[in-house]
Amino acid sequence: MMRYPTLLAAAFVAVLGIGPVAAEEHGTNPPRQHWSFAGVFGKFDEAQLQRGFQVYKEVCSSCHSMKLVRFRNLSEEGGPGFSAAQVKALAESYQIKDENDKGDVIERPGRPADAFPPLHPNEKAAAAAHGGKAPPDFSVLAKARTYERGFPAFVFDALPFTGYSEQGVDYIHALMIGYGDPPEGKEVPDGVYYNKYYPQGQVIAMPPPLSDGAVTYAKNDKGEPVVPETVDQYARDVAAFMAWAAEPHMMARKALGFQVILFLIVLSGLLYYVKKQIWKRIGGEVHGLQPELHKTS
């Protein structure tokens, strides 16, 4: 679907001589992935969101909070589709800070209406525990990250059929698979890691969080794995989960949008016909800049 615009983009860039700024400085552009939730009819894949949540819970959540997501969201429509009982059990496994009737600060088991608790009492404590910089909260991270698409690709990104709004999700996936040995001549200081997709100088403080086989996914009825247990797959699943966490009503939005746009197209078609009929009474009207009528010489 993107073949044509991409080619056109390449041609434009070549003609205008506006090449992208050196990749070494700003990180390499993430490879574009196929997402089930992309496009007009995009839908989240429940199984993928559940796997993604598993990766978040078992790996990412040791450092990254998700303060804006509530446990109940996990069983709401258009999400990972956990059952109410599963969500209740999950919530109870967390301890939530609260006050009792005497005003004492207590910890009680979580309820579905609670949000995922913060990992540190405040931002400063989070930063102090992680070498000076707090790991970002996951709640809206998939919308808070992007990469520059350049002209003219950014124009096609807005349009029907060539639209593209998964830059942030692609970036998160890319970041997970972007670790590796630095190219020759690239100095990587101690305590940080080379990651070719990280925009700031391609060195990141986060150690590689995933490794092949680190998370054991549920098997199917025959005891076979459903998807490979690789870094690439984990990255894909957790990025999809983060896309949902950032936009839990996305499926409702796209479904309603289709109805609204269809309605507006039909309505404007009818209105156009009514307008034609009304203007017919006085012999119709002319449109545009009317160049032929202005040739008065």
Binding site: N73, K143, G168, A246
Partner: protein, 441 residues
């Protein structure tokens, strides 16, 4: 409001007669939106007034609803916006409609301004109408800027910081203006409090000036693609149903684009950085305003001197107000101005290029091109507009609006009249019956 005194509205029922003799409100609406004579050659560029009114309404309604759930404090603003997105019923729709509604409002206003400049609508006798439009545009810019700071993301915070800092460059009063806006010594909680208050206030001021804008329009009458006045009843059609149905159709069609952005590209016109909560100790890599401010941002950054940049940026908007007196040509429509037409399209291309440059980092070649474009922007108003009118030979204008619709061969007999009485058409449009001053060219 003398033009409305000639309303053809005749109240029928006793209640209507009783009311009309005490407050002629129905007659005012009737003369403004029903019997009002509209040039019959208007194209779709003339529907943006209706589209803009629709968006003012949409922004106010969605805004009032959002304000019921929004918390204008530095500590809670970001989370309250996410609360709207996640927990308020259809909150995501309200917020995306409001955020993208602002962009659509500007898209429509730029089409409206383009139409005005191309067809010379700013020229006599519509100068006051035009100046009111420039004031609306300024108020829109202020409102949009204030609104963009409210989600209190990184771009909100740093946008507010940049803009309030450049105001400090104004001599003598700059520092006072800055601390007044901040409510302290940096952008913080008092700032978001007062920005929210002002963001709620300004749209009502826009609505007030819009009333004056429409009033002025209905005194002078509309310009049209030929740029010549209505001379007979055959040149005009009554506003209802002809303009009404066209406006309704165009507005609904424009809503398709609006809906596309709300439902399928809701964050396309925003910045990813604004989903990062405001943080005074982390500066984003690129601080970029919303797309509709980019040309002015490019002008600001093209000038090496801070005060100079501020002067030119505000000057770029202010100079619009002088267009009626800078343009020496009495021919309104650019269709009949072969030389100016070339310069006009260069001006449009230059403005778009400035917008592109505004999104680029201020370094190397971008700055040099930015300076050239800035000079050209002002040269269009200060050199092209005055000189073109003096040296250009315009094409002959058509004899009447009807002639532009039916062609010069056809005579008035052939054009079917839509039934506006001549006397009425002329009374409602002062100068409408006068000989066209432009003809002498």
């Amino acid at each position: 409001m003398s033009a409305h005194a000639t309303s053809t509205y005749v109240p029928k029922s006793r209640i209507a007669k009783w009311f009309e003799s005490r407050l002629p409100l129905v007659g005012l609406v009737h003369s403004s939106f029903i019997a009002y004579p509209v040039p019959r050659n208007l194209n779709y560029f003339w529907t943006f007034g209706a589209i803009l009114s629709a968006f003012l309404g949409i922004q106010i309604i969605t805004g009032v609803w959002l304000a019921m759930h929004y918390d204008p404090s530095a500590a809670n603003a970001f989370e309250s916006v996410e609360h709207i997105m996640r927990d308020v019923n259809y909150g995501w729709l309200l917020r995306y409609a409001h955020a993208n509604g602002a962009s659509m409002f500007f898209l429509a206003v730029y089409m409206h301004i383009f139409r005005n400049l191309y067809y010379g609508s700013y020229k006599a006798p519509r100068e006051v109408l035009y100046l009111l439009g420039v004031i609306i545009y300024l108020l829109m810019m202020a409102t949009a800027f204030l609104g963009y700071t409210l989600p209190w993301g990184q771009m909100s915070f740093w946008g507010a910081t940049v803009i309030t800092n450049i105001l400090a460059a104004i001599p003598i009063v700059g520092d006072s203006i800055q601390s007044l806006l901040w409510g302290g010594y940096s952008v913080g909680n008092p700032t978001i409090n007062r920005f929210f208050s002002l963001h709620y206030l300004l749209p009502w001021m826009i609505a007030g000036v819009v009333v004056l804008h429409v009033w002025a329009l209905h005194v002078t009458g509309q310009n049209n693609p030929a740029g010549i006045p209505i001379k007979s009843s055959k040149d005009a059609v009554p506003f209802t149903p002809y303009a009404t149905i066209k406006d309704v159709f165009a507005t609904v069609a424009f809503m398709i684009i609006f809906a596309w952005f709300i439902f399928y590209q809701p964050n396309y016109l925003g910045h990813a950085d604004n989903y990062v909560p405001a943080n005074a100790s982390v500066t984003p890599a690129h601080i970029v305003p919303e797309w509709y401010f980019l040309p002015f941002y490019a002008i600001l950054r093209a000038v090496p001197d801070k005060l100079g940049g501020v002067v030119l940026m505000f000057g770029a908007v202010a100079i619009l107000a002088f267009a009626p007196w800078l343009d020496t040509s009495r021919v309104r429509s650019t269709n009949y101005r072969p030389v100016y037409k070339v310069f006009f399209w260069l001006f449009v291309a230059n403005a778009i290029l400035l917008g592109w440059l505004g999104a680029k980092p201020p370094e190397g070649g971008y700055v040099i091109v930015g300076r050239i474009c800035t000079i050209y922007y002002f040269a269009h108003f200060l050199l092209v507009m005055p000189l073109c009118g003096l040296f250009e030979t315009p094409k002959p204008l058509p004899g009447s609006i009807l002639e532009t619709v039916t062609g010069p061969r056809h005579t008035a007999n052939e054009g079917l009249t839509a039934g506006v009485p001549v006397e009425n058409a002329n009374k409602n449009i002062p100068g409408g019956a006068k000989p066209d001053a432009v003809k002498s060219h």
